[in-house]
């Protein structure tokens, strides 16, 4: 019954989405408020039904109803409750249902909190949102129905892939989807603006918080996924330039660009056409990512494609939406008037440079992701594009971007004084150079570029600090005044500083980890001692243990430094009987920002075991950086100016600037 109800609710949601796709537009054409308001009710009802459908699937998994194919294939009655729930989206069908649920959630949020939007804009936005939703409901119902029954229900399920039986699955995919799918809002706003042929600074004011929310989740989602891969896969890698990772990085890059260009549009009413284009591109890249991952067209760990029709279906959706929106853009963009002149050296100019570098970096990643595919289809030879390619292309572009980052927030709008800013950044520059010198003197081995990159990271952090110091008048003014000014500083200024500093932090982490990590790989017997980075790691012994749905072999290590015992580490290897597969559970010992990492290989007959031990200096900074960035985003979101439901300035502006 639950499965059928869930299925039925999904069909109803499709019906509602179809109504929402058409009726509000007719209303907008006829200037009929009642018809336009249909969008609001259908969006909320849609959210209700998709929510019901999703809840039904969760209940099926929790109840271990193996008469449902999706549950049978991905669950097991012995699986802990948490993984029964997270297993809902640990498979193709369920994760697509999560995708549309989040899409409906964003649509519902616009409907619920968009009272301050002009009626016709809201009608258009929700209609566009419903087009996307309809396409994906159809996709799920036609090719990936999670509620299919099995004629003769098995007694036990096949269990979830053990690698996924981890807390990471609970957090990472929903976060990532909130980011990915959240960009559908800016997409819908962009299409609505093109359809209405009208766009102004108020538009940007509405779009920016949504984009920011999506960006915050995407940032955290990517970082979370990276950390998950790092501790779960057992060899300490945190980014592989895998096509599927690129699929999440590309929307992040263009979304970051969008965030900055919407700022120019909001403050200065310039870069309108570009902002619209970026909104379209960002969501298109999200769709492209869905296609790449779901269609199995690219060889990847993540790829699925049990069924070629799925790939074709998503490709159709992709062509329809990307092609359609770009065609609309081409036809209508010229009708949007440009405003807000600015000199090349200005805050706007800096933001243009930011956009330029981000989109070009994004294009490079897109190229690297699709090139092997194109070559295989056109020239029939196989190749892989990996880290070396991106180190030579993406890295220099990003280094250039980071070099420019501290300058941006310090330049004035309209017309900036580069020389003045350079002087004010002198201290930050000196800090960077000192860091280069220290890293140079301290470092033994590794790339000569590493100290330079660390200096760059310090420069970015110091630049962010300088901006705050300048704005609050710290050093120059009495402390009380500084405190007062700091309190009066817009939260978005603090947000900018934190987000930019986060970039520097992540860069330093990446450089330290890749340059100075050490590894020790060997077979160890009881009482063997491995020496790595000044630590003595002694194998005390091996023991067996029974978990809920696995058996595990645990190795106990005593870690000491110069004779002083520090800690006990217990990496393990789990064997899951149902799937006949095993996972490696690495043990981590955190020392400051650095980590000691132990994972196990196979045990040999003589009681020895293959062991991988890594020392990863400053590795945690890689993830602290994105967390700082997201924190900056949250601060900026809480800025008065952007608070949802603070409509007054927007309305006033609108009256001053009627339809262009």
């Amino acid at each position: 019954m639950i499965a059928e109800s869930g299925h039925y609710a999904l069909v109803l949601a499709l019906g509602l989405a179809l109504i929402q796709s058409i009726v509000p537009l007719i209303g907008a054409r006829l200037r009929d408020a009642a018809l336009m308001n249909v969008a609001r009710s259908t969006a909320l009802a849609q959210l209700l039904f998709v929510g019901a459908s999703f809840t039904a699937l969760v209940m099926l998994h929790v109840n271990s109803d193996f008469s449902v194919a999706n549950v049978y294939e991905n669950s097991h009655s012995m699986k802990p409750l948490l993984y029964k729930i997270t297993g809902v989206w640990g498979n193709h069908e369920g994760s697509m249902l999560l995708w549309v649920s989040i899409l409906a959630l964003f649509g519902g949020l616009v409907a619920a909190f968009g009272n301050n939007l002009p009626l016709s804009l809201r009608a258009h936005v929700l209609a566009v949102q419903a087009w996307v939703a309809s396409a994906f409901y159809l996709f799920i119902l036609v090719t990936s129905n999670p509620f299919l029954r099995i004629a003769t229900p098995p007694i036990e399920g096949r269990d979830l892939n053990p690698v996924l039986q981890d807390i990471g699955l609970a957090v990472h995919p929903p976060m990532l989807y909130l980011g990915y799918v959240g960009f559908s809002i800016s997409f819908s706003f962009a299409i609505a603006a093109l359809m209405e042929g009208r766009i102004d600074a108020a538009w940007a004011r509405w779009v920016r918080p949504w984009t920011l929310v999506a960006w915050i989740f995407l940032t955290l989602g990517i970082a979370m996924g990276s950390y998950w891969a790092y501790y779960e896969l057992g060899w300490g890698g945190w980014w592989f330039w895998d096509p599927v990772e690129n699929a999440s990085l590309m929307p992040w890059l263009s979304g970051t660009a969008l965030l900055h260009s919407a700022l120019v549009m909001e403050k200065r009413n310039a870069l309108k056409v570009w902002t619209i284009l970026l909104s379209i591109l960002t969501f298109s890249l999200s769709l492209l990512g869905t296609f790449l991952v779901r269609s199995g067209v690219i060889t990847s760990v993540h790829a699925f494609a049990t069924d070629p029709t799925r790939g074709v279906f998503i490709l159709l959706i992709l062509c329809l939406f990307i092609g359609g929106s770009l065609a609309l853009f081409a036809g209508r963009a010229t009708s949007l008037k440009q405003g807000g002149l600015f000199a090349p050296i200005s805050r706007e100019g800096a933001l243009v440079l930011n956009n330029l570098l981000l989109t070009v970096a994004c294009a490079v990643v897109l190229f690297g992701t699709l090139y092997p595919l194109a070559m295989e289809m056109l020239a029939d030879f196989k190749m892989s594009v990996g880290a070396p390619f991106y180190n030579l292309t993406f890295a220099p572009l990003f280094a250039l971007l980071l070099l420019a980052v501290p300058f941006g927030p310090m330049l004035a709008w309209k017309r900036g004084d580069l020389l003045g800013v350079t002087q004010r950044l002198l201290a930050a520059g000196v800090a960077g150079l000192v860091a280069v010198a220290i890293a140079w003197g301290w470092a033994s081995g590794g790339s000569t570029l590493a100290p330079l990159a660390i200096g760059l990271g310090i420069f970015v952090i110091a630049g962010a600090v300088t901006d705050i110091v300048e704005r609050t008048g710290l050093v120059r003014l009495p402390f009380a005044t500084v405190l007062h000014r700091a309190r009066g500083l817009p939260r978005s200024a603090w947000g900018t500083a934190f987000a930019h500093a986060g970039l520097g932090v992540a860069l330093i982490g990446i450089v330290c980890e890749t340059t100075w990590n050490s590894e020790y790989i060997a077979t160890m017997k009881q009482n063997d001692v491995a020496q790595i980075a000044g630590f003595d790691v002694k194998l005390d012994g091996l023991l067996q243990r029974q978990g809920p749905n696995y058996r595990e072999m645990i190795a106990q290590f005593n870690v000491s430094r110069e004779g002083q015992p520090i800690s006990v580490m217990t990496p393990s290897k789990r064997s899951f009987t149902t799937r006949g597969s095993s996972t490696t559970e690495a043990a981590l010992l955190t020392r400051g920002a650095s980590q000691l990492y132990i994972s196990l290989g196979d045990a040999t007959a003589e009681g020895a075991i293959a062991v991988r031990i890594y020392y990863k200096p400053m590795v945690l900074m890689i993830w602290w950086g994105p967390v700082l960035m997201a924190f900056g985003g949250v601060l900026s979101l809480s800025d008065r100016r952007l608070r949802v439901g603070a409509p007054k300035p927007a309305r006033a502006k609108q009256r001053l600037q009627p339809a262009e």
Partner: protein
């Protein structure tokens, strides 16, 4: 990570000089710059960045791409020692030998030809004789493939897609080699499992097991 730094600084100077000129002019008579000039400055800057990116990509394509070969392709075409590539095929039954301290040697075969492979480290959990494998590395002077990465997957029915395609092409494909190879082919990097919302690589069959270094 930021290799290629040197080449980028060149372009940076280029960009910088554009900005500097504009800056001085700006300081004197900022608004005198016409709309057209401003636009040209931006277009010029954009072109400079695009040109830089294109140069970087072309340069990177020259020597950072790793090609995929089977033993037959290696035998037919002369591959220089030291040139990195990915070798795919089946682990020849009976060829696996373990040496001291995690050193292993085995042969990779594709039906027509065989190639000896040497590797030092921990093999993936389901590395088995008779199963598909992809190794990355280069030939040494003696014609032995020195692998620094071995990829395999955790599933009996798994075969890397590249290998399956190659075997099919040469007519050595047998249906019992693997369920649906195209499904689970993870041959690119390692087995990170989720991302981009794909929580998962997992069809019923895939338990991605990471690359081993």
């Amino acid at each position: 990570m930021p290799s290629g730094f040197a080449s980028s600084t060149k372009a940076l100077k280029l960009l910088g000089s554009v900005d500097d000129d504009a800056g001085t002019r700006e300081a004197e008579n900022g608004y005198a710059m016409t709309r057209k000039q401003r636009r040209m400055t931006i277009i010029g800057g954009s072109l400079a960045v695009l040109a830089l990116a294109a140069a970087l990509v072309l340069n990177a394509l020259r020597d950072s791409i790793v090609f995929f070969s089977t033993p037959t392709m290696v035998a037919e075409k002369h591959v220089e020692p030291g040139k990195r590539f990915r070798l795919g095929g089946l682990v020849q039954p009976g060829s696996l030998q373990r040496g001291d301290n995690l050193a292993v040697t085995f042969e990779v075969a594709d039906g027509n030809a065989k190639l000896p492979v040497a590797y030092k480290g921990i093999l993936p959990d389901l590395f088995r004789e008779g199963q598909g494998v992809v190794a990355e590395g280069a030939l040494d002077a003696n014609g032995v493939f020195k692998a620094d990465t071995v990829l395999a997957k955790h599933d009996e029915t798994y075969m890397p897609k590249d290998v399956a395609d190659a075997l099919k092409k040469q007519g050595h494909w047998k249906d019992d080699y693997g369920g649906k190879p195209a499904d689970s082919g993870k041959t690119s990097n390692s087995g990170k499992t989720s991302d981009a919302g794909k929580p998962v690589a997992t069809t019923a069959q895939g338990n991605p097991q990471g690359a081993v270094r």
